[in-house]
Structures are given as structure tokens and as C-alpha cells.
């Protein structure tokens, strides 16, 4: 390969590396929760009241859109009894964020793998 091309490739790669470093350096602290943990906490803390026949009624990630989940957690209260979500037993901010991340990422309008047989 000619020297000109080698230099061009080197320049492009250098520019890319600079961009990457800049973006990494400017990376904001993560606000997203841990989806995997969120799924576990949801089953552990929320499912008892949110299955069919339970007091809170059946609720799954598919029960709301992403925008609806976002609004729900922004309000931070159960609509039925107006109790703050943080008052659920053993709940804290981090757990709540994890649960929110799980529900948001699996909402009815969230991206889904594209395989047949859904």
C-alpha cells in the first residue's frame, strides 16, 4: 500500500481515537439502573401485589409504554393509595432505579429482537 494511503489511514484512526477519548472523558455519570437487578427486584418486591387477583392488579413491563413508565416513576407514587414507591418494604433509590430501568427497557413499545414466532 502506498505511503499516502498509509498516512491517510493513520490520520483517520488517530482522529477516531481522539473522538473516542473525548467522548469517554465527557461521559456523564450513568443514570441508568441495572436491568438485570431490576428484573430480580421487580419479581421480589412488586410481583406479590401485581399478579392476577392480587390487590394491585396484574402489572408487567408490557402494561405501559416507555413514556408511561417514565411518567409513573417521575411521580413516584402508587396511584391507588397514593403511597410513595420508596415506602415499599426494603426499597431504596438505587433499587427503584433498577426496577424502572427493567420496566422501561421492556415496555410495550421498547425495541424487540426480530425473530419469527413472537
Amino acid at each position: 500500500m502506498s505511503g499516502t494511503r498509509k498516512n491517510a489511514i493513520k490520520s483517520i484512526i488517530t482522529a477516531l481515537v481522539v473522538c473516542l477519548v473525548a467522548i469517554a472523558a465527557l461521559a456523564a455519570t450513568t443514570t441508568k439502573g441495572n436491568e438485570g437487578k431490576g428484573k430480580f427486584y421487580y419479581k421480589q418486591d412488586c410481583k406479590q401485589c401485581h399478579v392476577k387477583g392480587a390487590p394491585g392488579g396484574e402489572l408487567t413491563p408490557l402494561s405501559k409504554t416507555q413514556a408511561q413508565w417514565k411518567a409513573f416513576f417521575a411521580k413516584g407514587k402508587h396511584p391507588g393509595d397514593n403511597q410513595p414507591l420508596l415506602k415499599v418494604k426494603d426499597m431504596d433509590e438505587e433499587k427503584l432505579n433498577d426496577i424502572y430501568t427493567f420496566l422501561y427497557n421492556h415496555a410495550v413499545d421498547s425495541p424487540q429482537p426480530e425473530t419469527c414466532g413472537k
Binding site: 500500500m1 494511503r5 484512526i13 461521559a27 456523564a28 450513568t30 438485570g36 425495541p111 425473530t115 414466532g117
Partner: protein
């Protein structure tokens, strides 16, 4: 309370009687009340009556609801009227929304991508195989016009052609590939060697470099989903993929799989501003309450795992993307054992021999068979973090090509240059045999990393047929034999701590000499990288400017060891050894591209 009042009155009366009785004089004495005493008694009785009346009124008032005041009533009436109006308005709006939702039977989504590429490539030194074939045809012509004599030199061959132009054109235009094969077979091997030694030098082409400084592309994909019934869904995707400034829909064939327009690659290879149907299928789930499902149509058979990672997207197709990245029509019978295990058995047709190929014009003996696929795609374990997938496929009666549109600038039988780039419908001319494919994919999300790998096998079972482009993994005049190939791909991706918005990934794949897969629709502008008989290194960076708008930078380094990547016809040649090639091919190539992708 009322009962208490009555008892109280009765008590008072009894008390009064008791008092009167107590004042009743003993027997023998008179009981005379004085007028003053009578008046006092009457006053006391009247007072008692008034008290009783008041008590009765109070009692009655307690049993009736309190009526609001006039001011409060007016407010309540006004609020009630307002609420009533709001309720009617809300009911009307909800009704309109429900109607719209019911009539809007299709949910649309999609993406648009702008991409700019810069490509460098090096073609190695090679001998032009089609020129060689042309000289062979001319040699046979020389023999014909010289009473069967063996040509003494290349100059003598050219002179014979120049001296008999009309005769030569008739000869060249009418010779068939079978006649060419028979003629070559009739020449003793030593004479064949002598002939090629005489002709080859004239076909030598010095290696060269090519550079496409800027190649812009547009890609639009419109996806739509519809619910047919509770357990039947429909999914489709229309795709337009074009380079800036071209919408002809056909390319001049240069020997690469992405220079033909064919059924399996309309969405993966730029063709023009046509909106093609990339996928359209229904899924009939939980048949009869069972775990079986049936899906029929144009399959979701592109962007399968693990080829989705560099797209910063979820799994984009069902079969392994390293084995099958090719649009085909077919069906799947699936069994969802549970949320994590899915078993699928698939069937498809890659080439339809009885339609569009003038089949009525062909005698039964010359008719070709359809090319059909059968296979299994097993998600042995799938979660949000892990995928273990096994794929097996067998292709029956693989043809020496695909129904396709291309502009051929050379006649593949006689090797003559075609004066204009006329677009023709290429139709396969022979069934070559069967191909087996198998692969194992593993993907794992671990902390901020995604690791993925794929190992794959291919094996050919030729039936001995060869055509102008060759036999299965053999040249036109060779006898095909079974060959096996393999390919490995490994990749890793790191997700930055900015809510996974930025990701950087590296991939490497290596394919052996006889490696083959059906990945002609792979999203690589140079050539499908997983088809490479050699190595490819790729580095990519994706950044979500917002959740649905993505920037991507990509660098690919192709290093071809053998020719014919992506083809099942023709014998692979080592590119570093001055090979005989029907068409030039890159020995190495680089692609740097930048993309902006809008998902909606």
C-alpha cells in the same frame, strides 16, 4: 330517640299520677284542688307539652339530611355541570382514540441511514481466465480452418481470426460450453499443457490498486407489524438501499457477489430507489394452545446473531448471521419449550427453476431442479445476557448461480468482450450438488462487555456437473470433488459508562480455502466479510446522540488469501501465486465509513 321521648312522657304522666296519688287524701278525707292549684297544674302541663313538641321537632330534624345552604348548592351545581361536560368531552375523545386504534391496524417503525465510505483495494497480479478461454476458443477455430492443425503460435491464432472475421464470429457465437468441454477433453494432457504455456503469457495482468474516495449511500427501512388475531401476527419490512446518484438496479458484473441484483440480496446490496420487500411473514403462535408455532413468508433471515452487535441493535434475524445472511422465502415450524429455549425447523427456496426461466422452451432433460434449503435453528439458551445458538442447514440442488440481473461485458462461454453493457437476466445453467452448513454461536453480556463468537463448518457434495463458471468448488474443465471449509468469528464490545450510549467493538474472522456461507446480503459495501477466505479485522464505534439517533464509525481491513469468496462455483486460487482468475478480485482492501442512523 323518639321511643325515649315517649317513655319519658309516660314517665312524667305516671309521675304526675303518683304525685296526685300521694296528695290524694286518705280515705274519709275530701280532695279538693283550689283554683290556683288547677291553674298551676294546667301551666305545668302546657309547659310539658311544649317541651315534648320541641323534642319531637329536634328528633325529626336529626332523621333528615342537612340541606346545604343556597350558596353551597349553587357551587355544587356549577361544578357538577362542569364535570359532566368534561366527562362527555373525555368520553368522546376516548371513543375517537379507540376507533383510531381499531382502524389503525398497522404499527409502523423503521430507520434511515446515511453512510459515507472510502475504499482502498489492491488487485494482485493474475492471469485472466476468461481471456484464456477466449484464446482456447480461437485455438479451436484455428484448428477448424487449418484442417485440425495445432496452432504453432499465438500470432498464428490471431491471424486466422483476422483473416476470417465472419467465420470466426459464427463459430464463437455458436459454440456451446458442452462442445468446449468435449473439445478440451479430446486434447491430450501434454498438448493442453503446451497450449496453455503458449496462451497464458498473453493473459497476464499486472496487479493494480483502486480507490473510491467517497461513496455515499442511503438506506431506508420501513417496518410494519399488525395483529391478525390474538395468536397470529404479521411482520413486514420494506427496504430501499442505494448509492448516491444511481438507481439503475443493475451493475456491471465484476465477479463479486455484490455486483449482481438477485432475490437474496435486494436489501443488503445497493440497487436503487426501489422499495423492496425484505421480509413479510405471519406467525401463528400457540397453535391449538400448544407451544408450536408456524411462520410462513419472506423470512427474517438477515442481521442474525452475532452480526447485530456492530449495528448497536438487538438481534435482527432468526438464523445465525455468520451462516445465513440472505433473504429467502420459506417457512418455519417452531416449538417454544419455554421463555429461554426455542427450537425451529426451517424450509426455503433459493432458486425456482420452473418460473421465469423459459421452462417451456427447455426440454425436460435440460430442466433444472429448484434449489431448496432445510435446516434447524435452535436457541438452546437465550436470556437478556446470554445466547447459545446452533444452526444446521442443507441446500439441495444448488445451481451455478442465482436468477439475477447484471450487465455482462464478457461472454462467459467464448470469452469475447460484449460491446455494450447490456443488462441481462442471468439464469443458472446447471445444478451442481448439495451444501451442508453448521454453526455454533455464543454471546454473553458480562458487566460493561459483550463477548461473542461463532464457529462454522461448510461441506460440499458435488454431482460432477460443471458449467461456464465452474463446478462446485472447481473450475469449468476440472472434475469437482467434495470439499470442506470452516470459519471462526470472535468479537468483543465495551459499553461506556454513559448509560451505554457509547460502545466500541472489535471483530476478527478467518475463513479457510473452501469456506462458503449464504451471507451475500451482509451489510458490507466492499464484500460480505464473513464470506472471506482469509481474515478480516473490524473496529467500530457507535454513539447514541439521543436514544434513536446514532453515529457510527467503522474500519474494516480485508485480507484475502484465496479467490472466490462468497461463491460455491469455481476453484479457489491462492492470490499470492499469480493465479488464473475469471475476474479480478481484491487481495486486500480497506474500508472506512461513517454513518448517521435515525430510528423511528
Amino acid at each position: 330517640m323518639r321511643r325515649f321521648i315517649h317513655v319519658f312522657i309516660a314517665f312524667l304522666m305516671l309521675a304526675g299520677l303518683e304525685v296526685w296519688a300521694q296528695t290524694t287524701p286518705p280515705a274519709g278525707q275530701s280532695n279538693t284542688i283550689t283554683p290556683e292549684e288547677a291553674t298551676q297544674l294546667r301551666q305545668e302541663i302546657d309547659q310539658l307539652k311544649k317541651t315534648v313538641n320541641v323534642l319531637e321537632q329536634k328528633l325529626e330534624a336529626q332523621s333528615k339530611p342537612a340541606m346545604p345552604s343556597e350558596h353551597v348548592t349553587a357551587d355544587l351545581a356549577s361544578n357538577y355541570a362542569e364535570l359532566s361536560t368534561d366527562m362527555k368531552d373525555l368520553e368522546k375523545r376516548v371513543s375517537e382514540t379507540e376507533k383510531s386504534t381499531t382502524l389503525d391496524r398497522v404499527k409502523f417503525s423503521g430507520d434511515y441511514r446515511f453512510q459515507v465510505n472510502t475504499i482502498w483495494g489492491n488487485v494482485p497480479n493474475y492471469f485472466n481466465g476468461l481471456e484464456l478461454q477466449n484464446y482456447v476458443v480461437k485455438s479451436l477455430f484455428y484448428a477448424q480452418v487449418n484442417g485440425g492443425a495445432f496452432p504453432p503460435s499465438l500470432a498464428a491464432i490471431n491471424q486466422a481470426v483476422t483473416a476470417n472475421p465472419v467465420l470466426y464470429q459464427t463459430f464463437a457465437n455458436n459454440i456451446t460450453f458442452e462442445q468446449l468441454k468435449q473439445a478440451m477433453a479430446s486434447i491430450p494432457p501434454a498438448m493442453q499443457q503446451q497450449l496453455f504455456q503458449m496462451l497464458l503469457p498473453a493473459t497476464y495482468t499486472q496487479g493494480y490498486s483502486g480507490h473510491n474516495a467517497l461513496l455515499y449511500t442511503n438506506r431506508l427501512r420501513l417496518k410494519f407489524d399488525a395483529k391478525v388475531s390474538d395468536n397470529i401476527s404479521f411482520t413486514g419490512r420494506l427496504s430501499m438501499y442505494k448509492v448516491f446518484g444511481d438507481s439503475t438496479g443493475a451493475q456491471v458484473f465484476n465477479g463479486q457477489t455484490n455486483s449482481v441484483t438477485m432475490d437474496g440480496t435486494t436489501s443488503g446490496v445497493p440497487s436503487g430507489d426501489f422499495l423492496r420487500v425484505e421480509r413479510a411473514y405471519f406467525s401463528w403462535n400457540n397453535i391449538g394452545g400448544s407451544k408450536f408455532y408456524l411462520s410462513v413468508g419472506r423470512r427474517p433471515s438477515t442481521f442474525g446473531p452475532p452480526m447485530n452487535f456492530r449495528e448497536d441493535d438487538l438481534r435482527g434475524g432468526t438464523p445465525s448471521g455468520t451462516l445465513i445472511n440472505y433473504q429467502f422465502d420459506g417457512m418455519t415450524l417452531g416449538y417454544n419449550l419455554n421463555d429461554n429455549v426455542h427450537l425451529r425447523f426451517c424450509y426455503g427456496v433459493g432458486y425456482e427453476a420452473g418460473w421465469g426461466n423459459g421452462s417451456l422452451l427447455i426440454l425436460p432433460a435440460g430442466s433444472l431442479k429448484d434449489t431448496q434449503f432445510m435446516g434447524a435453528n435452535l436457541d438452546l439458551w437465550t436470556t437478556d445476557k446470554t445466547l447459545i445458538q446452533v444452526t444446521y442447514a442443507h441446500a439441495f440442488d444448488v445451481a451455478d448461480g442465482f436468477n439475477s440481473l447484471m450487465a455482462m461485458n464478457v461472454n462467459p462461454v467464448n470469452g469475447e468482450k460484449v460491446p455494450s453493457n447490456a443488462v441481462l437476466r442471468y439464469t443458472p445453467s446447471g445444478n451442481l450438488g448439495g451444501i451442508n452448513l453448521a454453526g455454533l454461536n455464543l454471546t454473553r453480556k458480562q458487566g460493561p462487555f459483550d463477548f461473542y463468537g461463532s464457529i462454522n463448518y461448510s461441506g460440499t457434495s458435488p454431482n460432477g456437473v460443471t458449467t461456464p463458471f465452474g463446478g462446485m468448488m472447481s473450475d469449468p474443465f476440472e472434475k469437482p470433488v467434495s470439499q470442506t471449509g470452516w470459519m471462526v468469528l470472535a468479537g468483543a464490545r465495551y459499553r461506556f459508562g454513559n448509560d451505554d450510549r457509547s460502545k466500541i467493538g472489535f471483530e476478527f474472522n478467518h475463513g479457510s480455502k473452501y469456506w462458503f456461507n449464504f451471507a451475500q446480503a451482509e451489510d458490507d459495501i466492499v464484500a460480505p466479510k464473513t464470506a472471506t477466505r482469509g481474515q478480516v479485522y473490524e473496529a467500530y464505534f457507535t454513539h447514541r446522540l439521543n436514544e434513536h439517533f446514532i453515529f457510527k464509525a467503522d474500519f474494516q481491513d480485508y485480507n484475502y488469501t484465496y479467490s472466490g469468496s462468497g461463491w460455491m462455483v469455481g476453484s479457489p486460487k491462492k492470490l499470492s501465486g499469480n493465479p488464473i482468475l475469471a475476474f479480478p478480485t481484491y487481495q486486500n482492501a480497506y474500508n472506512v465509513n461513517f454513518s448517521l442512523i435515525a430510528r423511528f
